[in-house]
Every structure is written in structure tokens, then in C-alpha cells.
């Protein structure tokens, strides 16, 4: 059975209202903070995860209209295609899938559309369809699964360098701590794109409540925290290099690392849901993705280039320049008088 949070006053569907940062009933105009609805839904009471829950095509029943729905793989929240009610799948938010934290959406849909249009310059060189209402309507707010790593690191690097032309050996030992370093826990999304819209303001992270997801799509992780550690290690290595570089300022030249004895340990790994506005667009057999950080509004992505538009631009510029050149030539070399 799929769940949705109903208004305690009128039993209408509640939607998380970004402007109010509350769950809002569009029918009786009531607004509730998520904590007020603790009793309405509890993910702790969820049933055991049914067998094959992460396989494609999980069948669920809408608790509003009783319709049978088939969800996408890893979907946590979906919409009933018959009555339009938001519905989340408790099993995918419970037990091992229960997130610790959530960052609620701060950027609303209108703002996201504005940012999208500004980012792609109104779709100047993209195919016409890219900025059409049809495509814009596909920009969807989605909570993506992230693993947050707390890492304690002891940097210990020896290097040879030149300082003011004199050779020297240098040693750097630094203790540093990184907290809530996020790593995408889903294989279905572009990790580089998600990194590009970081960082999130982690000081405003909230304890997870399913109410925040209401009105948006959400995915649960398909990559365990342990499996993400390899990626985390790669990023930690980058950060160690970065920390080391900071200590060898411009007066040092020809810096060559001779030994790196740095060590780190993962203090905590926690599961969180982060908000993203996402657009996927297929053009010429390639998928172009665009993402907005749902909290800070940072944008990133790639957009398709329309070949006919570029050809038209080329021919137009060429023609205009050729005509202008001919006119100038005529002014200098006769022809106009």
C-alpha cells in the first residue's frame, strides 16, 4: 500500500509548500509543520521490505483511490496516475532505507524555471523544443539519496622543493576533519553533475521526516555506503593534495612529493535526502542533463546544440560580414563614388 499524508482537517492531500516550509492543504488552506504530523505517518511502523522491492515494476495500491500503480525502480515517492495523489512507499523509507537527514527544497519551481532559462540563455542555440513548455514541464523536483561521510584525516607528507632557489626538504603534518562529505548513492544519476551543484548548506539540514518529500519525487539509494567508500577515498586524496598545496605558497617552486603517509578513517556514514531540480533531455541520441541545487540554487549541466541553428548563424554572420566587407572595399577602392 502506498501512503500519502492527509490533512487532519479535511483529509485532502498535503503538499510540502516551499515558500511556507510547511505541509500545505490546497483544499482547506491549512498549513502544518512536519512535526505536527508525527502521528499521521510513521515510517518506523513500516512492514518488512517485500521481496524484490528494488526490482523494476513494484506494484503498489494508491491509498486514496485504490488504483494499482507500478513504480519506477528505486522510487520512494510517486504520484497516482489516476487520482494524482502523492504517494510514498513506506518500505523504501524504513529500516535500512530510513534516511537520517533531509534538506528541504528552498528553490521553488518558478525559480528553477527562471534559473534554467537564464542558464541556457533562453535556449538560443539549443533545439526549439528545449525551452518549450513541454520540456520545461519535465523539470522535476526530486530528492536524491546521498551518503554523508564524516572523515578524520592525518596528513603526513614529505616533499622536496626549492625556496628562493635553495633546495630544501619539507614535512607537513596536519590533522583535519571533514564533516558530512556528500556522495551520491544512486547509479541512475550523473555523479559529476551532482558534485557540480554542491555544496549544500549543511547547517540547515533537518532530521528526516517523510512530509518533506510530499509533492516531489524521491529515490532511495541503490549503492550501499560501503560501496561509495572507494569514491570517497578518491575525493579525500584530492583534498589531501589540496590541503598540502595550501602550505606550499608561491615562494616554493619545483615541489615534488617524496612520501605520503597520510591516513584517514571514516567516523560516521549517514544517509540523507538532498533536493535537486532535474531535467533530462534526449537529442541526437544523447542525453543532456541539467540540475539545480534545490537548496542553494547552484546550476550545472549541459545543453544540446541545434545544428540547423548553428548553420543559420554561420551563414548569417558570413553573409553580413561579406556584404559589409564588400561595402567597405567599395568605399576605399571605388564603386560607390
Amino acid at each position: 500500500m502506498a501512503d500519502s499524508i492527509k490533512c487532519p482537517n479535511c483529509s485532502g492531500n498535503l503538499i510540502f509548500d516551499i515558500g511556507r516550509q510547511k505541509l500545505f492543504c490546497e483544499y482547506c488552506l491549512s498549513a502544518f509543520v512536519t512535526e505536527e504530523l508525527e502521528d499521521t505517518i510513521s515510517i518506523k511502523e513500516a512492514d518488512e521490505e517485500p521481496e524484490g522491492i528494488l526490482e523494476e515494476g513494484l506494484k503498489i495500491t494508491c491509498n486514496a483511490c485504490g488504483a494499482q500503480l507500478v513504480t519506477e525502480k528505486n522510487s520512494v515517492v510517486t504520484y497516482c496516475s489516476f487520482c494524482g495523489s502523492p504517494a510514498f512507499i513506506k518500505e523504501r523509507l524504513s529500516e535500512k532505507f530510513a534516511p537520517h537527514y533531509v534538506i528541504p527544497f528552498q528553490i521553488d519551481r518558478d525559480e528553477a524555471v527562471k534559473k534554467f532559462l537564464r542558464w541556457c540563455n533562453g535556449g538560443r542555440w539549443a533545439p526549439c523544443e528545449y525551452t518549450s513548455e513541454k520540456t520545461i514541464s519535465k523539470i522535476s523536483g526530486i530528492y536524491l539519496p546521498f551518503w554523508l561521510f564524516d572523515i578524520d584525516c592525518r596528513i603526513d607528507i614529505s616533499a622536496a622543493a626549492l625556496k628562493n632557489g635553495r633546495p630544501l626538504d619539507l614535512v607537513r603534518k596536519i590533522e583535519t576533519k571533514w564533516r558530512k562529505l556528500p556522495f551520491l548513492g544512486s547509479k541512475s544519476f550523473n555523479e559529476d553533475l551532482m558534485k557540480a551543484i554542491e555544496p549544500y548548506k549543511l547547517e540547515s539540514i533537518s532530521v528526516f521526516h517523510p512530509g518533506y518529500l510530499h509533492g516531489f519525487m524521491a529515490e532511495c539509494y541503490d549503492t550501499e555506503g560501503e560501496a561509495v567508500k572507494e569514491r570517497a577515498a578518491a575525493r579525500v586524496k584530492e583534498y589531501i593534495d589540496e590541503e598540502f598545496r595550501v602550505t606550499v605558497s608561491t615562494s616554493y617552486t619545483d615541489v615534488k612529493k617524496t612520501a605520503d603517509r597520510s591516513e584517514w578513517k571514516y567516523e560516521k556514514v549517514r544517509y540523507a535526502m538532498f533536493p535537486v531540480w532535474l531535467l533530462r533531455y534526449e537529442y541526437g541520441g544523447k542525453v543532456y542533463e541539467f540540475a539545480i541545487n534545490g537548496q542553494t540554487g547552484a546550476v550545472s549541466g549541459s545543453y544540446p546544440i541545434s545544428l540547423p541553428k548553428v548553420i543559420l548563424l554561420f551563414v548569417t554572420v558570413f553573409t553580413a560580414c561579406a556584404a559589409l566587407a564588400r561595402l567597405i572595399l567599395a568605399l576605399f577602392l571605388g564603386g560607390l563614388f
Binding site: 542555440w125 614535512v171 596536519i174 583535519t176 583534498y239 590541503e243 564588400r326 577602392l333 564603386g335
Partner: protein, 245 residues
């Protein structure tokens, strides 16, 4: 960006014709038609016009016998360098440079007018026959501009120097001047320059503009380390200079 600017920008972005397939198509058709028309016109003005050779003697300074020689010399000059040639005798002293210039332009426009922007490359030889001497002036136009240099002008002047008009010597000097220009005139490589200026440069510029326009935004790398760092303590930071002899 403030709220007002933001909403204006939003409005502009939404009204852009390329946001709407039908409007984009209409705009493309208009642009393409304009492009075709411009290129047709450019092609038309680039077609070589029929060259005009004019020898006019309103001052009756040339003898009827010498006129064919002058005309054939003018024709040779025209044929060999693909230019218009105008030889004309005018009243006046020919001593005022600006007057000569406007007289030459007037005569040249009157006889050699292939049309707007079309090739008017040519030479005009102005002759001012007086009792006692002849003043000659050479003017160049179009691709032939500057093809007669100062030394050549002096040589032409010399041919007419102290020639009494009308006389067979004056006639001879006219045809010889045209032959001299034919031999020594430094005519520009017109077609090549035209190709470079009118085709190659615009082609490169158009390629550059397209490259700039379609330049893709780079996806940013991971945020810097300090964004997630809560503490950093330097345990040891030592620099040991090595002894060098």
C-alpha cells in the same frame, strides 16, 4: 540581479522567437530569404562589367589621323589590365589639383557607370591643351587606384612637356602616355584581394562567432576541501634547507 531586472530578463527570454518552433521557423525562412537575396546581389555586383574605352576631344586638340592611334592605345590598356579607360581634353589650365580631380570624377562617372557597387576600376587621363603647352593629369579608380605612381606621373608629364598644341607631337604624347601606363602601371591583384576581404575574412569571423556562441559551459569540479572542513591543526610544518657546496 534585482527583482525587476530578473522579471524583464525572464520576459525577454520567454518572448525570444526561438522558444517557439513555429516562430523560429518563420524567422529562419525570413533570414534565409534575406541571405539568398544578399548573395545574389553580391554575386551580381562581382560580375565583371563591360569595359568602357572613351577618347573624347571636345577641345578639338587631336588630329583626325592620330585619333585611331590614341583609341587603340586606350583599348590595349583596357584589355590588358581589365579596366575602364577615359581620355578627355578639357578647357582650363589644369593647374588646380582639386578642380582637376572633380573634373576627372565627373568625366569618369559620365562615361563609366556600371552600376551601384560594381567594379569601376579604371584610369582617366585629363588633358588641358593651351596655347603654348599641355597639362596632363592621371586619375585612377577602383582596383586600379594607386596603380600609377608618382614617378610614372612625372614620366607622363615629361612626354607632354613643352609640347605646342595642337600638334602631332601632342597626339603622339597621348598615345605614348597610355602605352607607358600600360607597361609600367602597378595594377592591384584585384580578384585575390576581393576574395580575401570579401570571403576569407568573413568566413573566419563567422567560424569564430559560431565557436564562441556554441561554447559549452564546463561542469564544475567538486567543491574545495574547506567547504566541508570543520577543523585543521598543524602538527608539524618544517622546512630543512639542504647544504650545497
Amino acid at each position: 540581479m534585482d527583482e525587476r531586472k530578473e522579471s524583464i530578463l525572464q520576459l525577454i527570454l520567454q518572448k525570444l522567437p526561438w522558444n517557439d518552433g513555429k516562430r523560429a521557423f518563420r524567422l529562419s525562412v525570413i533570414v534565409l530569404v534575406a541571405i539568398v537575396l544578399i548573395w545574389t546581389f553580391l554575386l551580381y555586383v562581382s560580375l565583371p562589367p563591360r569595359r568602357t574605352v572613351v577618347v573624347k576631344d571636345p577641345q578639338f586638340s587631336f588630329s583626325p589621323e592620330s585619333l585611331p592611334d590614341i583609341e587603340s592605345a586606350a583599348q590595349r590598356l583596357s584589355d590588358e589590365h581589365d579596366i575602364h579607360v577615359v581620355v578627355i581634353t578639357l578647357p582650363g589650365t589644369g593647374l588646380d589639383e582639386s578642380e582637376n580631380k572633380s573634373a576627372a570624377l565627373k568625366a569618369y562617372k559620365e562615361y563609366c557607370n556600371p552600376g551601384f557597387l560594381r567594379d569601376r576600376s579604371g584610369i582617366c587621363l585629363l588633358l588641358f591643351p593651351h596655347v603654348g603647352y599641355v597639362e596632363a593629369a592621371v586619375f585612377t579608380y577602383g582596383m586600379a587606384r594607386g596603380s600609377v605612381n608618382f614617378d610614372l606621373e612625372k614620366e607622363v608629364d615629361h612626354l607632354f612637356y613643352q609640347v605646342h598644341a595642337p600638334s602631332p607631337k601632342f597626339d603622339k604624347a597621348s598615345s605614348s602616355s597610355l602605352d607607358l601606363i600600360n607597361e609600367k602601371g602597378h595594377f592591384h591583384i584585384g580578384v585575390l584581394r576581393l576574395m580575401i576581404v570579401c570571403l576569407l575574412l568573413p568566413l573566419l569571423l563567422a567560424a569564430y562567432v559560431c565557436m564562441r556562441a556554441i561554447r559549452r559551459k564546463k561542469i564544475k569540479p567538486s567543491p574545495e576541501s574547506y567547504k566541508y572542513r570543520v577543523t585543521r591543526n598543524y602538527i608539524s610544518r618544517t622546512d630543512t634547507f639542504l647544504h650545497t657546496d
